[in-house]
């Protein structure tokens, strides 16, 4: 390729990525510094840190952020605990010919909208839902149990929203493991748990770390689960942000600033989690046993 077409060939996608992928975040950063947006006609915009100051000054907003971080951490831990044996089974125990079909069957529910999945959980947990109907039918309860609109139902909803994001990286990581290494570990007398901790974890650490980090980040952005399964007493940071953009509330700078706070804090925490997974897989004990 000659020089100019080659330059254009590279420049166009680069400009597109800068404009469409990074542009929204930059625009958000700018709006977060304004005093009002969309600005009233004739008003001169005033730049400042008002929105960030409002966040720092409000215990309620800070509590919502902390609540969201704990929720995301719990959902990530549950997703990891559930995904590990499932991904392991499909990637290691299922013969290659049937592997993709078994994986597809497992992930099929996640090929529906998260709105439908949360609606399904409402049908499971509501007062007139399947669980209460079953409990009443076997005579365990007289009045329906309040299973919805609490932290538990939101946590369940977030896990049901993001589980796929954990399953696929774990599957990919386990699928790539050399099987002879596991056989050697077994022959040398390593039991099931030792194999997972001292052989699988170090070899699959990159995949596990990326699954954990990505799942944690996506948990922070889940809006449908708290909106449909949560109550008034369990606001997450995502619902707080969404409310700033409701009809005619005109508090976009607050929403923009809070979004950036969530993104920055979330990315730092996700990075920390990824590092923790890698550190865990490279502790002296593990390294020593790997070498031994």
């Amino acid at each position: 390729m000659s020089r100019l077409p080659r330059l254009l060939f590279v420049a166009i996608p680069v400009l597109w990525v800068v404009a469409a992928h990074l542009g929204p975040l930059l625009a958000m950063a700018r709006i977060s510094l304004l005093d009002a947006y969309p600005a009233a006609p004739g008003a001169v915009p005033v730049f400042g840190l008002h929105a960030y100051a409002a966040f720092a000054a409000s215990p309620g907003y800070r509590a919502a952020l902390v609540h969201s971080l704990w929720l995301a951490l719990a959902a990530t831990a549950i997703a990891l605990t559930l995904s590990w044996p499932l991904a392991w089974h499909v990637a290691v125990h299922v013969p290659p010919a049937r592997r993709i079909r078994r994986l597809a069957l497992l992930v099929a529910p996640f090929w529906t909208s998260e709105v439908l999945r949360m609606f399904a959980l409402v049908l499971l947990l509501a007062n007139r839902g399947a669980l209460n109907a079953a409990l009443r039918w076997i005579g365990a309860t007289n009045a329906p149990l309040a299973l919805l609109y609490g932290n538990g139902s939101v946590l369940l909803g977030v896990v049901y929203t993001v589980l796929l994001t954990m399953l696929l990286p774990l599957f990919a990581a386990f699928d790539r493991l050399p099987s002879d290494v596991l056989d050697v570990a077994t022959d040398l007398g390593a039991g099931r748990w030792r194999r997972q901790l001292f052989v699988v974890l170090p070899l699959a650490a990159t995949g596990i770390a990326s699954g954990v980090a990505l799942t944690f980040l996506l948990c922070l952005g889940v809006l449908v689960a708290p909106a449909l399964l949560g109550g008034a007493g369990t606001p997450t940071f995502a619902t707080v942000i969404g409310d700033f953009f409701g009809a005619a509330s005109g508090r976009w700078p607050m929403g923009a600033a809070f979004s950036l706070v969530l993104l920055v804090v979330g990315t730092i925490c996700a990075g920390g989690l990824a590092l923790a997974v890698r550190a865990l897989s490279a502790t002296p004990t593990v390294r020593q046993r790997m070498g031994a």
Binding site: M1, R6, F9, V10, I12, P13, V14, V17, V18, A20, H21, L22, P24, L25, A27, M28, L82, P85, L86, H89, V90, I100, A104, A108, W111, T112, S113, E114, V115, L116, R117, F119, A120, L121, V122, L123, L124, A130, Y160, S179, T186, R192, L217, L218, L220, V222, L223, V224, A227, L228, A238, I241, G242, F245, G255, S259, L260, L262, L263, G266
Partner: protein
């Protein structure tokens, strides 16, 4: 590996538990009761008739399908272009471009949706179908770039050079040699993008204005008043999603690639390649 009974059992239990709630949607749709949930009424297709007769459902369906198709094509075009560009870049800028490409994939949903909402306001675009198309395309581009890029790295090293040496111009070599090689990844990425767009809620919610896609429509009705019509509509959408997932599984299954080259001109030198 020693087989055991525990993980297969866990697998089948998980499949059942993950499917069960979705089955409840279908079960509670086949009723003549006016309240959603249990106890079930008598079996009836009453709410399916109501769902199909409601013009709002039809409009939302057409909007969702149109967005899914268009955003898939645009996302694969953008993703393919990005993947091709990274091939001729130096390592440092390539890494920056890849990182920038992945940003929409790793940004929490609410943050990405708010960012897009502000961005379209910034460029003077009103919420609506065009804004949603843009949002869905940007969201799907990273995955398309990854899938096409992975396929691109398995291209035989001299394939394009061979085509050029044999007299094909850059466009012809691209269309007749490179694209056929990339086609399985492009089709797979397009279908996955379409499914993501069809299922998307948070971007459509903030970018759609007063024109709801199916997920936004259902979300709105879940928050206002429930009738089993939502169950019937949701069951129809579930069926559509399952059908599309089956098509994806069939399309992306491993298979041989056929490169179109009727005269055998371009591929002949490669035929003897191991």
């Amino acid at each position: 590996m020693r087989p055991n009974w525990l993980t297969p059992a866990a697998y089948w239990v998980a499949v059942a538990v993950l499917m069960l709630p979705l089955g409840l949607i279908a079960l509670t749709s086949l009723t003549d009761a006016t309240l959603v949930g249990f106890p079930l009424g008598r079996p009836s297709l009453r709410w399916y008739v109501a769902a199909l007769a409601d013009p709002a459902n039809g409009r939302a369906f057409l909007l969702s399908v149109g967005l899914a198709g268009l955003s898939a094509v645009l996302a694969v075009a953008a993703g393919t272009w990005i993947a091709l560009a990274t091939r001729i870049m130096r390592p440092a800028p390539r890494l920056l471009l890849l990182a920038g490409t992945l940003v929409p994939l790793v940004t929490p949903g609410i943050v990405h949706a708010i960012g897009l909402r502000i961005a379209i306001q910034f460029v003077g675009l009103d919420p609506g179908p065009i804004a949603m198309l843009l949002g869905h395309t940007v969201h799907a581009t990273p995955l398309a770039a990854i899938m096409v890029g992975a396929r691109l790295t398995t291209t035989a090293p001299g394939l394009m050079d061979a085509a050029r040496d044999l007299g094909a111009g850059p466009v012809r070599a691209f269309l007749h040699v490179q694209v056929p090689w990339l086609r399985p990844a492009m089709v797979g990425a397009a279908l996955l993008s379409a499914l993501n767009s069809f299922d998307d809620f948070v971007r459509s919610f903030f970018l759609g204005g007063y024109q709801p896609t199916l997920p936004v429509l259902i979300f709105g009705r879940l928050r206002s008043g429930l009738t089993p019509e939502i169950n019937a509509l949701s069951t129809l959408i579930l069926a559509a999603s399952v059908g599309m997932a089956a098509i994806i599984a069939w399309v992306v299954r491993p298979r041989k690639v056929v490169i179109r080259d009727p005269e055998g001109t371009f591929m002949a030198p490669c035929a003897s390649r191991p």
